[in-house]
Symmetry: C2
Subunit: 138 residues, 2 copies
DNA sequence: GGTAATTTCATACTTTAGTATGAGTCGTTT
DNA sequence: AAACGACTCATACTAAAGTATGAAATTACC
């Protein structure tokens, strides 16, 4: 947050400098009017694009980044979360068991725990809920 | 596409007019230099923001809009697609049957057809595949 | 008007998913 | 050391999901 304020302040300063420089150049008539105006136009155009990009980029991030704090607050263990991710990829219990080198019984236990903690009745519903909680990537 | 070119042309024209107007105002000294520069700056800033917004908006649309043509090319019927969407929402066959006012048998038939057409072994995998094909919203 | 595709439903069956319970192991914490 | 949480596994069971097959009604299309 402090960084943002600092950058913003520097930007304002730079703009004021540019402003003064422009008026000075015009008064002293060292440079042609068109060049100054074109320069101003380009600079502000770029600034507009950059600011807009930053704002929209933040939006995209918040909708795609996974919320690790929420995972803990829900009470999902590391292994349970792993299983949840594999479920979301469309794997069966047997396939998950083979992928994680454990028995299918173990996966069933994990799945049951995940369903309880996410308050879901089925694995498909768990996927949906996990997505809404921004716990998994989609 | 023609519309875009037309708008772009109009924009360029408007900018040139503004440009000429600015230089004229400066030469005739009817307006203060600062006001003109500030005006130019604001106009180009806004233009930059708008253009950037349009470009990024298009990106978002392409990643989120569902591909109706692909649904047809896969061979999914209207009802089968409906069922697919309900599956993605995490509903069971029974719940889907109640929501669409048909029997569970019917839903099972539709689900089987969907799985074959999407080349999926399970409904969870069907969700994943449908997502990759940009057939359903996520 | 006939044909094809869609939608509907049923029955019987196999497979997968999910629940309940109990228990052993391992690492951490107190 | 004892207690705790996380991970593992098994067995036995119930519930859903998915397959196969056949068939009737509806709709769409030529």
């Amino acid at each position: 947050m402090k960084k943002t304020i600092l950058i913003f302040g520097a930007l304002v300063l730079a703009l004021l400098t540019l402003f003064q420089l422009s008026t000075y150049s015009l008064v002293s008539s060292n440079t042609s009017i068109e060049v100054i105006i074109a320069g101003i136009a380009i600079v502000f155009f770029v600034i507009g694009v950059l600011i807009n990009k930053k704002v929209l980029h933040k939006d995209k991030d918040t909708t795609r980044e996974i919320d690790h704090k929420k995972i803990k607050s829900i009470g999902l263990s590391k292994r349970e979360y792993e299983v949840l991710c594999e479920i979301a990829l469309g794997l069966s219990n047997k396939e998950i068991a083979e992928k994680l080198f454990v028995s299918e019984s173990t996966i069933k236990t994990h799945v049951s725990n995940v369903l309880v903690k996410l308050d879901a009745k089925r694995r498909t519903q768990a996927i949906q809920i996990a997505k809404e909680l921004q716990i998994i990537n989609f």
